[in-house]
């Protein structure tokens, strides 16, 4: 099988035979790009190859890279809106996603980035459900030197979020980062609860960023996650975590293609500095490697 072999090596032969095409397809499939997008990509590539009379695998590889980068939208705005509002209200970033993807860790890392830019940050522990979730966030807050607003265990997450924003405003913070409990997108009650968290924050003004945290190991369910969370809370950006592992995170190709929501950040480890901006070219190169 082609598993584990790089596309570069695969394509070192200098003619384009059926086997080569199959290997291209396999590379995309094993990166979780999904059957639909893979077949479309390969089809488009085949057409281009025919039209241009491309003969070498290397040229084809470059074309594939180009197509993938194009799909991911190189021109998309991937910046985070974290500037304080003219009325003195802090920017609000709401972090959402299914269970265990890395939301709390991402909030901690993001706080670290903002602190290093000399901005004042307040964390809101709106996960009042999972055992020790607020403790975990508080530890992150201490680690990066920012305060954490928390409620009692089982408290209404919307009211904790509200308190965090209130305290953030009082403290004249630049950014309030709100961590939420993991929830599977097919749990209607929990999705409604998330909608309420957002609405309560919006009473003070628009939420600046809603970041959906997707785990790079996620397969085809990732697209459904993105779809349902977007419907519930209008996701403005994606954080693709755990890219330091063997998973390629190819599902974000379909996510960006279908929803147009840009991946903004990537998680590359469990430490405070393991957060980086998403770079389409680097992502595609890793996907094809």
């Amino acid at each position: 099988t082609s598993l584990g072999r790089g596309l570069l090596a695969l394509l070192s032969r200098d003619t384009l035979d059926e086997e080569t095409w199959e290997e291209v397809e396999d590379t995309l499939l094993t990166a979780d790009v999904g059957v639909g997008p893979t077949q479309e990509l390969v089809e488009r590539l085949r057409t281009r190859v025919r039209v241009l009379g491309t003969r070498t695998a290397e040229d084809m590889r470059l074309m594939l890279r180009e197509e993938l980068v194009e799909l991911i939208g190189p021109g998309m705005d991937r910046s985070l809106k974290t500037a304080r509002h003219p009325d003195g209200r802090p920017a609000v970033v709401l972090v959402v996603g299914v269970n265990g993807t890395g939301k709390t860790t991402t909030v901690g890392k993001l706080a670290r980035v903002l602190v290093s830019e000399e901005r004042d940050v307040v964390l809101g522990a709106a996960d009042t459900f999972r055992a020790a979730a607020a403790d975990q966030l508080t530890t992150w807050g201490e680690r990066v030197g920012v305060p954490t607003v928390r409620g009692a265990e089982g408290a209404d997450p919307a009211s904790v979020a509200f308190d965090a924003l209130k305290q953030g405003t009082e403290l004249e913070a630049d950014v309030v980062l709100v961590d939420t409990a993991g929830r599977l997108q097919n749990k209607v009650g929990l999705m409604d609860e998330l909608g309420k968290v957002k609405r309560v924050l919006e009473r003070q003004g628009p939420v600046d960023e809603v970041l959906l945290v997707l785990d790079a190991t996620t397969g085809q369910n990732g697209l459904i996650q993105a779809r349902v969370f977007s419907e519930a809370v209008a996701v403005s950006g994606i954080v693709l975590t755990k890219l330091d592992g063997t998973a390629k995170g190819g599902i974000v190709v379909a996510v960006q293609r279908e929803l147009g929501v840009p991946v903004k950040l990537v998680g590359l480890g469990e430490g405070p500095d393991d957060l980086a901006p998403f770079e389409p070219e680097a992502f595609v190169d890793a996907l094809l490697a």
């Binding site: 099988t1 598993l3 584990g4 396999d26 499939l29 094993t30 990166a31 979780d32 999904g34 059957v35 639909g36 299914v98 269970n99 265990g100 993807t101 890395g102 901690g108 459900f129 999972r130 055992a131 020790a132 403790d135 975990q136 530890t139 992150w140 680690r143 599977l184 997108q185 097919n186 749990k187 785990d215 790079a216 190991t217 996620t218 397969g219 085809q220 369910n221 990732g222 459904i224 755990k242 330091d244 592992g245 063997t246 998973a247 390629k248 190819g250 599902i251 469990e270």
Partner: protein, 312 residues
């Protein structure tokens, strides 16, 4: 939503159903749809290949060709082959001849290990055991507190002598836990470990060291049902790095098809033993291969469709 899988397969099989005999090209068409269906269910590509080849082979046999309804036979074969890989009857936990029985949990970050520890404790207590939950994740912020709370909720004893958050040696804690269990007469020890990546050699060695220190009767690989093609790579890495005896599939309360179950079982030869299907301690069940088979291929619905088609 995601109906392509169901639509495609049912369309193909409906086509097949009208015929008394399956031509090679019918079988090839069905095999192609089966391949797509499995890939969309996140079954790993190498497993898909082997699986489809096996089904195709059997579909061409006289047994199928001479059956009254070949299309139905093909469906049955798909189901049978799936269940065969997923492992028939679920295996029970092996208890040690001399207690304590040691169960070690291992898996990727965020898979659901700590939650599972609580579920196992609750379940074991229900069977008359006196479990001890051991906090060997001394790395992730507040993993120790999390396990402690989970143990309380499960009404289980807890052993967490080190504060964690980077302080303490998990191998040492594991070793002391077994001695402690013996002394306090806990007959089952459940060791929660930190999440780790398959490629993290250092942490994989740590897991192997914990294993060597406690000699588990069961090492369970905990895997998220939402995982995609990485399932096989990671499962193999854990098999090589620390070894495991059984698999637990988590987050089955979601709408992922759970092809990982098939991938991991096929590649490692280890059975899925338990299913975790919720955040609460009771959301836990022994694994049912037949249910998983229909989940992966949406055969429940497909069956209904076929029955509907037959009436028309």
């Amino acid at each position: 939503m995601f109906n392509t899988l169901q639509d495609r397969l049912s369309a193909t099989f409906k086509g097949l159903r009208g015929k008394g005999r399956l031509s090679d090209s019918d079988i090839d068409a069905a095999a192609r749809e089966l391949r797509v269906a499995l890939l969309e269910a996140d079954v790993a590509l190498p497993v898909v290949r082997e699986f489809v080849a096996a089904v195709r082979e059997r579909a061409k046999s006289p047994e199928v060709q001479q059956s009254v309804n070949p299309a139905q036979r093909v469906l049955d074969i798909v189901n049978e082959e799936l269940i065969a890989i997923l492992g028939g009857e679920a295996r029970r936990i092996r208890l040690a001849k001399t207690p304590p029985t040691v169960i070690m949990l291992a898996g990727l970050q965020g898979a659901g290990k700590t939650t599972l520890a609580g579920k196992l404790a609750r379940w074991l207590r229900g069977q008359g055991h006196q479990p001890l939950l051991v906090a060997c994740d001394l790395q992730r912020p507040n993993a120790v507190n999390q396990l402690q709370i989970v143990a309380e909720r499960a009404g289980s004893a807890f052993f967490g002598p080190e504060p964690g958050n980077g302080v303490g040696d998990p191998v040492d804690v594991a070793r002391r836990a077994v001695a402690y269990a013996r002394e306090k007469q806990h007959d089952v020890v459940v060791v929660d470990t930190a999440g780790r990546l398959g490629i993290d050699a250092e942490l994989m060695q740590q897991a192997a060291d914990i294993r060597d220190a406690v000699k588990p009767d069961e090492t369970l690989f905990v895997v998220d049902a939402m995982i995609g093609q990485d399932a096989v790579v990671t499962a193999q890495a854990f098999l090589d790095g620390v070894g495991f005896d059984g698999v637990v599939l988590t987050k089955l309360d979601g709408d992922a098809r759970g092809g990982a179950a098939l991938s991991v079982a096929k590649v490692t030869g280890r059975q899925v033993m338990f299913a975790s299907n919720g955040e609460k301690l009771d959301d836990f069940d022994v694994f049912h291969p037949d249910r998983m088979a229909s989940r992966i291929l949406d055969l429940g619905d497909l069956q209904t469709l076929l029955e509907g088609a037959a009436k028309v």
